[in-house]
Symmetry: C2
Subunit: 313 residues, 2 copies
C-alpha cells in the first residue's frame, strides 16, 4: 500500500496530511488559504514540508487536489478564483524538487470523484458520476474504473450543462446552466428575490440582517414557509433533470454527491430523485443517488486516490 | 490486419459485407429489413452466410451493428423499434455456431462513433463525441481511444438530454430533450405547425400533398421563406446548446455528426456552432464539428471497428 503526502487546496483552507493506501489520514496540517498575490509558493512548500517531516518522511508520492483550473500535464494551476496567488502557478516542479518524490496535481472535483470511487459512497462501482454541490456545481467522472479527464483535463464541468435554455444567467455567460438554477449562488439569488417580493415574512425573519442564502431558505421552509420550500423543490427538479441527462448519456451505476447542499436532504434531493426517475430512458433507469460521507477529508483522500491511480498506471 | 464479416442492421435495410482492417469494404449484400414478427433469424443467417461464402470464407470475426437496444453482454437485441422480429432476439450464439468465428454485436450509434474514430472524420483524436442526427438523435462516445459503453451498454443516448425543461414533449416521456427539438421527427412537428398556422404559403407550396418534414422546411427556407429558416436556425441553436453541454462535461477534441440532417448544412449547423461557441466554459472552447463522410458504409465500418477493438483487447 503506497503512502501519499496528500494536499487539498481550497478557497478557504489549505490542508496537508499523510494518507495510506487503505484511506487512513494522519498528520493533518491545516492553514488558512493565503490571500496575497505573490509569494504563495513558499507557504505551500512549508506546509508540505512540515507535514512530511512530522510524519517521518518516506513517501511514494505527493499529490495535490486544488480548486480551480488545473493543467495537470504541465503541473500548474492556471487560475483558482478564490486564491489570487494561485494564478499561473507552476507547482509540480518545485514541490518535486523539494520533496524528491513524484508529484501529481488534479482538479479537486475530479479528485473528489476518485475519492468516492475508492474510499466512499461509490465503492464497488465501475461507472460513477460525482457532483460537488456547493457555492458552485462541479463534478468528476470515473468511467470504467478510471478518472476521465478529457482532452485537456477539464472534463466534469457538469454545472455548465444547460437544462433550461433561456433560464437565469450563469456566471459562465450561458443561460439556464445547472449551476445557475441549483447551487449556493443560485439559492442566494432565489432567496434574495423571494425576500424582496415581500411575500415571505418567515423568510425575512430567518434572514434577519444576514445575506440571504440557501441556509435561510431551508430553515424558513422547515418552519413551514411554503414559498421557500417551493424554491428548494424547484431547484431539486432542475438538479434531477440534469442528473437524468447525465444518466441517459453515460449510463452510470451510481451518482454520488458532496458539498454544502447535501444538508438540504430530502427537500432538495427527493425532488431531484423524482425528476431523475421521470427522465429514465428505458434501460438506463434505476441509478441511485448517494451522499458522500467522507467529510472534511474528502479532498485529501481524493488527492491520495489520484496518486494511487498514477502509480498503478 | 483482421478481416471482418460485418453487418449493419437498420430499420430499412440489412447490410452485410467484408471489411478489411484498413477499411476496405467488399462483397456488399443488401436486403430489405424483414417486417414479420417471427422467423427473422434464418433470414439474417442466410444473409451472413451468403456474404461469407461469396468472399471465400476465412474471417477473424463477425460483427453486427444494429439499430435498437442491444444487450452486448448477452449477445441479443432487446428491441429494435422498426424491426418487429428483432424483439428479444439472441443473435450472437446462433451466428457463432453457424460461422465458427467470434461474433460481436453493438448498438449502431456506438458503432458509428467508433467508425468515425477509426476510419472517418474523427481519425487522429482520442476523445470524440459522435451524433447521429436523423429521424431521432442518438450518439456514441469514444473516450480515451475506446468506445465508452457505460454500465449496461446504453451510454450515448445524447438525444435524451434535456436542454429546455418544459419544452416540447419527447417520445421518451420527458420534455425538452434534444431529440424533441432537433431531429427528423421534431422537424415534422415544426413543419406541420408552421403549415397549419397559414403564415407560410411558400412552405405550403413546397409540401404539396406530402407529409411535411425537414426537407420541406429546408427547401422552403432556401427559396427565401424566413419562417421556415427560423425553425431550422432555432433547432440549430438547441443543438448547439446540447453540444455545448457535452463539451463542458466531456472536454472532447472533436464532435462528429452523421445522418440525414447533415444535408441542412450551414443553415442548421452554423446556428449550432454559434451556440456552441457561446457555451464554451473557459478552456473547453474550440472544439470543432465535423461531418461524417463515410456514407452508406458507416454502419459496416462501425461493426468492423467494434470487432477490431474486441480482438485487440
Amino acid at each position: 500500500m503506497p503512502r501519499i503526502l496528500a494536499a487539498d487546496f481550497g478557497g478557504t483552507r489549505l490542508r496537508a496530511a499523510v494518507v495510506t493506501g487503505d484511506g487512513v489520514v494522519e498528520q493533518r496540517n491545516i492553514i488558512d488559504s493565503p490571500d496575497q498575490r505573490e509569494g504563495v509558493l513558499p507557504i505551500v512548500l512549508d506546509l508540505l514540508e512540515r507535514t512530511a517531516s512530522a510524519a517521518g518522511g518516506a513517501f511514494d508520492a505527493c499529490s495535490i487536489a486544488s480548486a480551480g483550473l488545473i493543467d495537470a500535464n504541465r503541473g500548474r494551476i492556471i487560475i483558482s478564483p478564490n486564491i489570487p496567488g494561485f494564478r499561473n502557478l507552476a507547482l509540480v516542479e518545485p514541490v518535486a524538487e523539494r520533496l524528491g518524490v513524484p508529484v501529481f496535481i488534479e482538479n479537486d472535483a475530479s479528485a473528489a470523484a476518485l475519492a468516492e470511487w475508492r474510499y466512499g459512497a461509490g465503492r464497488g462501482f465501475n461507472h460513477l458520476i460525482h457532483v460537488t454541490a456547493g457555492t458552485g456545481i462541479g463534478g468528476g467522472l470515473v468511467l470504467g474504473g478510471r478518472l476521465y479527464r478529457g482532452a485537456r483535463g477539464f472534463a466534469g464541468e457538469l454545472g455548465h450543462m444547460v437544462v433550461d435554455d433561456g433560464g437565469p444567467q450563469c456566471g459562465c455567460g450561458a443561460r439556464g446552466c445547472l449551476e445557475a438554477l441549483v447551487s449556493g449562488a443560485a439559492f442566494e439569488r432565489r432567496a434574495t428575490r423571494l425576500l424582496r417580493s415581500g411575500r415571505s415574512p418567515l423568510l425575512a425573519e430567518v434572514v434577519g440582517d444576514e445575506t440571504p442564502g440557501a441556509v435561510h431558505l431551508y430553515n424558513a421552509a422547515r418552519r413551514g414557509d411554503i414559498l421557500s420550500e417551493a424554491e428548494i423543490r424547484n431547484a431539486g427538479h432542475y438538479l434531477g433533470i440534469g442528473l437524468g441527462s447525465l444518466m441517459n448519456l453515460l449510463n452510470p451505476e451510481v451518482i454520488t454527491i458532496s458539498g454544502g447542499l447535501v444538508a438540504m436532504g430530502d427537500m432538495l434531493f427527493g425532488s431531484a430523485r423524482d425528476a431523475l426517475k421521470d427522465m429514465a430512458y428505458g434501460p438506463t433507469s434505476g441509478v441511485g443517488i448517494r451522499f458522500s460521507e467522507l467529510g472534511d477529508d474528502a479532498g485529501l483522500l481524493g488527492a491520495a486516490a489520484v496518486a494511487e491511480e498514477h502509480l498503478q498506471a
